[in-house]
């Protein structure tokens, strides 16, 4: 109900507060750069606050200006913002595939666990254990396992390995959140469905799924964030051409001579994260009538 009845003024206030947050962050950056010690703040020999040199912390306008310039001196070079935008779309696409697969797998697992108690005790520990496997760290292995797959016309592409890693991170919050959501209806509501002689499917459709939305939405948000992080890190790991991760690898070397350059793909990954979060927000708007008593997972 909350989202629907929000007056325009309140929406504006949220936009302004959001923009203020960015401005404050920018001010803190520039103020620290202006006032902070050039060698950073040290406790003993450990640096707790970074150096303020132009190398370590370029001015925001250096980063901004670099984005408008071409990537390099080649005559056919595209402007940096366009290259980063293209890479962001590529990364967003892989993250979306990973997210979709992760959400589908997570929901399926949650349904199975809700339906069969035995499945819950059998699967849930493994789901939790699965997140202790550093799949991101073995991205090249996943790529190589994938490269062995040839099914007729279908060949496993490198981007699919990255999407797989993204989905591996994304399914976890969904399965746990959905399971809690599906089990959340009060016992008297479940009993009522039983009185109506409604079967499991009908109970699921009429009661459990609508009740799970409040649990599911935050889980979908977490899954989106995990999918984006998983995608970028896996892209870095195998230097997948086309994505933000590849740009991070390639531009790192320019940190000395062209300090604004390595920041461009970082802004790109922020953009991807924002779009992903916005997309999940959109799902929330679509499902707003079910968001009663939203709970954070």
């Amino acid at each position: 109900m909350r989202a629907r009845s929000e007056p325009a003024a309140a929406l504006w206030r949220r936009v302004v507060v959001g923009a203020m947050g960015v401005v404050v962050l920018a001010l803190v950056w520039e103020l620290y750069k202006l006032l902070g010690p050039a060698d950073g703040v040290l406790v003993g020999t450990t640096t707790v606050l970074p150096r303020t040199t132009d190398l370590a912390m370029p001015h925001l306008w250096v980063m901004g200006g670099r984005v408008l310039e071409p990537v390099n001196g080649a005559s056919a070079a595209l402007p940096m913002w366009l290259v980063v935008l293209q890479a962001s779309l590529f990364t967003l696409g892989i993250a979306a595939v990973g997210w979709l697969v992760g959400v589908a797998v997570g929901l399926a697992l949650a349904l199975v666990m809700q339906r069969f108690r035995a499945a819950e005790s059998a699967i849930l520990p493994w789901i939790i254990l699965s997140q202790t496997v550093p799949l991101i760290a073995i991205a090249p292995l996943v790529r190589r396992w994938g490269a062995q797959i040839h099914l007729g016309e279908f060949t496993w592409e490198n981007w699919m390995s990255v999407a797989l890693i993204a989905s591996y991170l994304a399914f976890f919050p969904v399965s746990v959140g959905a399971l809690r959501g599906l089990s959340s209806p009060d016992a008297n509501h479940v009993d009522l469905m039983r009185c109506y002689a409604a079967g499991w499917w009908k109970t699921l459709w009429r009661l459990r799924l609508p009740a799970s939305v409040g649990y599911l939405l935050p889980a979908l948000g977490l899954a989106a964030a995990s999918a984006v992080i998983g995608t970028v890190v896996a892209e870095v790991s195998i230097a997948l051409r086309g994505g933000i991760g590849r740009l991070i690898v390639e531009y790192a070397g320019a940190a000395g001579g062209d300090p604004g350059k390595p920041w461009a793909p970082i802004f790109g990954s922020v953009l991807v994260g924002l779009v992903a979060a916005g997309f999940v927000g959109l799902i929330g708007v679509v499902l707003r009538r079910f968001r009663r008593g939203e709970v954070a997972v």
């Binding site: 870095v236 086309g242 690898v249 070397g253 320019a254 499902l287």
Partner: protein
């Protein structure tokens, strides 16, 4: 009834939005994967498909292979070569040993360790005769030989890139404990900000990165005169770097693969010969293949890599037995910071072979190709700020 239709409507909208995102993705995914394939001159007859695994992303370090694809040298030999780029966590010799690719580019010391652990692969052409690894420092630090590293903050990337440094120190009687070993990142900011006194630098890459940076004291780019360079070739602890590796089992059992190996080496040497004669064109080819390095940096890298190959003492790719023995010796006797050595026993005889490269060199010589480049002259490259 009203209740459930709305629920369905919401679901439908969600699916529609999701489908939209998916469409965007498949378009993005498509362009990305196809651009990784090199241009393939068209289906002229029966070309043998060959995949080469690089040890890093596209850059002029591999200019010869990209030039050989671009100029059709591989195609002339009947090969359809696909170049697979490397990345931070991709180990070319492992990819080769597991059979995913036909050939791989990697450093000898890195592969020796893999061979001892069971990788059955063979150095069939030692493309780089000289080592490009150096340890650089600002003049005021007074570090001009490995003996001067004592008590200094010494940078190293680790992961098998540190052995020449450790061998050089060991030769000068300096223990790993006598220096403060600093983990170096992909960029040179640690060196430029003074955290690292002597930083590891490849002549073709990181050294140039420093020379592309403005010295805040002078307002001009750093100059070579401001730097001391410890060159492991001069210190006598250089190890063999970029070589073409092939699968030993297939070399022994598969006659076609052995023939393909000769052809692959032959066309690759042609590619490097092209890069020596046309460094600017070779650099442009690498850029056209997706490298985002700046123009002057790319040309610098092409030129420096050429210097590692040309002039060639015995013919490009021929493995010098003394140099090989030296690399093995260092690999056996140099201890890193954990006390480990790369290998504990001599590598098997299959670790290198001059059979294929010799055949390739003979054929090239018959065809009038200069495989030694005795009169090779590097070009003068002016680096611009940021390498652009």
């Amino acid at each position: 009834m009203k209740h459930s239709t709305q629920w369905l409507g919401s679901l439908g909208a969600t699916v529609a939005v999701t489908a939209l995102v998916l469409t965007g993705c498949s378009a993005g995914g498509g362009t990305g994967t196809s651009s990784a394939e090199p241009a393939n001159g068209g289906g002229g007859g029966e070309l043998t498909p060959v995949t080469l695994q690089l040890q890093w992303v596209a850059q002029a370090q591999f200019a010869g292979y990209y030039a050989a694809v671009d100029q059709g040298f591989y195609e002339d030999e009947g090969l359809d070569v696909t170049i697979a780029e490397g990345g931070p966590d991709i180990v070319p010799q492992d990819v080769l040993a597991s059979g995913d690719v036909d050939y791989a580019i990697s450093w000898v010391p890195k592969v020796l360790g893999s061979i001892e652990q069971g990788a059955n692969i063979t150095d069939v052409a030692q493309i780089f005769e000289r080592s490009a690894t150096t340890q650089i420092s600002f003049k005021n630090k007074n570090i001009s030989s490995s003996a001067d590293l004592k008590g200094k903050n010494v940078g190293s990337w680790g992961f098998g890139n540190e052995w020449e440094l450790f061998a050089g120190m060991q030769k000068s009687g300096i223990e790993v404990g006598d220096i403060n070993l600093v983990q170096q990142a992909f960029d040179m900011t640690g060196f430029l900000s003074g955290d690292i006194d002597a930083a590891q630098a490849m002549t073709y890459n990181e050294y140039a990165q420093v020379l592309e940076t403005v010295n805040p004291d002078t307002g001009k780019l750093y100059q070579p005169e401001e730097l001391n360079v410890i060159d492991w070739n001069d210190e006598g602890t250089a190890m063999l770097q970029d070589a073409i590796w092939a699968n030993s089992d297939r070399l022994a059992s598969d006659k076609d693969y052995a023939d393909t190996t000769v052809k692959f080496i032959k066309a690759s040497i042609r590619g490097w010969s092209f890069a020596a004669a046309n460094p600017q064109e070779a650099a442009d080819i690498v850029t056209a293949n997706g490298s985002t390095l700046g123009q002057s940096h790319q040309l610098w890298m092409t030129n420096e890599v050429n210097k590692l190959i040309w002039p060639s003492t015995n013919g490009v790719g021929l493995i010098d037995e003394d140099a090989w023995a030296n690399t093995v010796e260092i690999a056996k006797n140099t201890k890193n910071e954990t006390g480990a050595t790369i290998i504990s026993n001599d590598p098997p005889d299959t670790a290198y072979s001059n059979e294929y490269v010799q055949k390739a060199l003979d054929e090239l010589t018959d065809e009038g190709v200069d495989v030694k480049g005795a009169d090779y002259e590097p070009v003068e490259v002016t680096l611009n700020e940021g390498g652009n």
